[in-house]
């Protein structure tokens, strides 16, 4: 076991000694900062409702919005949503929560797409680069089984994903705290639901936002890892994985009328389709079905990577 820890340590040294890795973190931090700056520039949400007269404020805003609808076509289509939301606050007597670092963290869940991108880049390179550098030859002539080497690389990728996720979380919280301050974490927020709105604890919202997207992250990372191992080409692995990450759901939409579309990976990666009153992409799909499909894909990716890596003749390029 200690041997495996040393191997994983080796892989991490190789990831974090390269400057390009740190550049990724810098870009991620830059995006969070820009996001916070933009929100701050256009006005912090809920800022007007923090006094004791928040009910009055909401009512006045509703009147203003109604007036706008008569003049402006865009407002006419957009404003009813806002009015309804305001009414929900009034009806349920919930004071809109102070916008703070925690809410900002929740909204940054969208940046998990960027985290996926970074993890895919690492996963795509971790095996392919050893072939490109030629160092694979020196790596495989050690008293360690090939399966162990590959496992250490896969674990290193997952750890990188975890660290990057933590970085996103912490950086978003810190930047959020600087821009918006920190208020209570047990706030309740109002969100869209199937019919109308629903109120849920903020912490639960953050948790669901992040955890469901992790499925996509894990599957795409494992796919990139497999392509990297099988084709020894990091560009190909990045290209294919990113393309599928971006366009996966559109592909599913396009083929939505076909019976077999539910067996496509991307019809199943977004498990949010089963919660919060959403309906699945294809009728008749269940959470159990999706999890089964995901597991099958995962096992195929992992098995392919391992078998190819163990059997491969490491000959010249």
């Amino acid at each position: 076991m200690s041997r495996m820890i040393k191997l994983i340590h080796n892989e991490q040294v190789k990831i974090y000694t390269r400057k390009s890795t740190w550049l990724m973190y810098l870009i991620l931090a830059g995006l969070i900062f820009t996001f916070a700056f933009t929100i701050n520039y256009y006005g912090v949400p809920n800022e007007n409702y923090q006094g004791d007269n928040w009910r009055q404020e909401l009512k006045e805003e509703n009147q203003k919005l109604t007036k706008e609808m008569k003049k402006d076509e865009f407002a006419a289509s957009n404003n009813p949503y806002l009015i309804e939301k305001n009414n929900y606050y009034l009806e349920h007597d919930i004071q809109p929560a102070t916008y703070d670092a925690w809410q900002f963290v929740g909204e940054n869940a969208g940046l998990l797409m960027v985290v996926s991108l970074l993890v895919i880049i690492i996963a795509a390179g971790i095996v392919a680069n050893e072939f490109r550098w030629g160092t694979i030859k020196l790596l495989l002539i050690r008293p360690i089984k090939r399966s162990g080497i590959l496992l250490s690389k896969y674990i290193a990728v997952l750890l990188f994903a975890l660290y990057t996720l933590m970085f996103l979380f912490i950086a978003a919280w810190l930047i959020g705290a600087i821009f918006f301050g920190v208020s209570e974490i047990d706030a309740t927020i109002v969100k869209d639901a199937k019919d109308g709105f629903t109120s849920i604890p903020l912490i639960k919202d953050i948790f669901t936002n992040y955890s469901f997207r992790l499925v996509d992250l894990l599957m795409m990372t494992t796919l990139a890892f497999m392509i990297s191992t099988v084709f020894r080409n990091s560009s190909l692995a990045i290209g294919v994985s990113l393309f599928l990450l971006m366009s996966g759901s559109s592909i599913v939409q396009m083929l939505a009328d076909k019976e077999w579309v539910k067996y496509i990976l991307f019809a199943n990666t977004d498990l949010r389709q089963y919660v919060g009153g959403n309906s699945p992409i294809i009728e008749g799909m269940t959470l159990g079905f999706s999890i089964t499909v995901l597991i099958v894909y995962y096992v195929v990716f992992i098995l392919t990577s391992w078998i190819v890596f163990i059997k491969r003749d490491v000959a010249g390029q």
Partner: protein, 304 residues
Amino acid sequence: MANAAIELVNLKKTIGKKEIIKGLSFSIQPGEVFGFIGPNGAGKTTTIRMMVGLISITEGDVLIQGNSIKTDFKKAIREVGAIVENPEMYPFMTGWQNLKHYARMMPGVTKERMQEVVKLMGLEKPIHERAGKYSLGMRQRLGIAQALLHKPSVLILDEPTNGLDPAGIREMREHIRKLAKEQNVAIIISSHLLSEIEQMCDRIGIIKNGKLIKLQQVGEVENDNLLHHLKVAPMDQAKQILNEQLQLEAVELDGNLSFRCKKEQIPKIITCMVENNCAIYQITTANGSLEDQFFALIGENTIE
């Protein structure tokens, strides 16, 4: 031959329908330096890759200290240190970080051992620079350093003189002789240049088109028919003496008399010349007799 450090048993490799290595069998004793010679494309690197388990073995086996690389990989490879083709390192890490990386993969490599190896290869100065900045010669040394870390009993060096200047080759030769002698390491050196490694090997094997065509001790190179060049005056008289008195076939070549004879005959030839008042300016034994033989065996550098 029971205690061979490494033994190849009828080793074969077939890729597709083409047999690349056609049954190699030889063994190397501890403390022996074995030169593995052949033209480019003869199968040297393929053989070496099979010896260290990088590519699968179609038929036969490689035994390292009696352990099969096929069935007992971990035990067998523990005894091996190797460079396969170019000594590639992680360019973004320093020499020391590279060594540390490999040290973590093997049991019992201490910091002291790493420092020892660095000193042995004369890398103290550049060891904390990024390996990407190293010259090929420095990388070659770093490559050998990583191969020595775990005190292997078999050292496999693929073209280790590549990229070294003459002084570097000379130094390498001394390192290798020292390792074999003092630490009883069995060393295999491959090269397509016989002259570069001839002087460091105890024995050479010549491979051509996947077959071993000659195994020979370097010391015992055919003693009886060495080519000699004699610078002497007067030439005609000397030629006559050689041809008639000593029954040697001498020919004039570039102002020298060239002939083949045994080493033991030389004093007698000189005495003869002096007795007949011939002035001897120089007598040389043609170097690279092995080289001549090598080309005779290899012929044109053809790849099947």
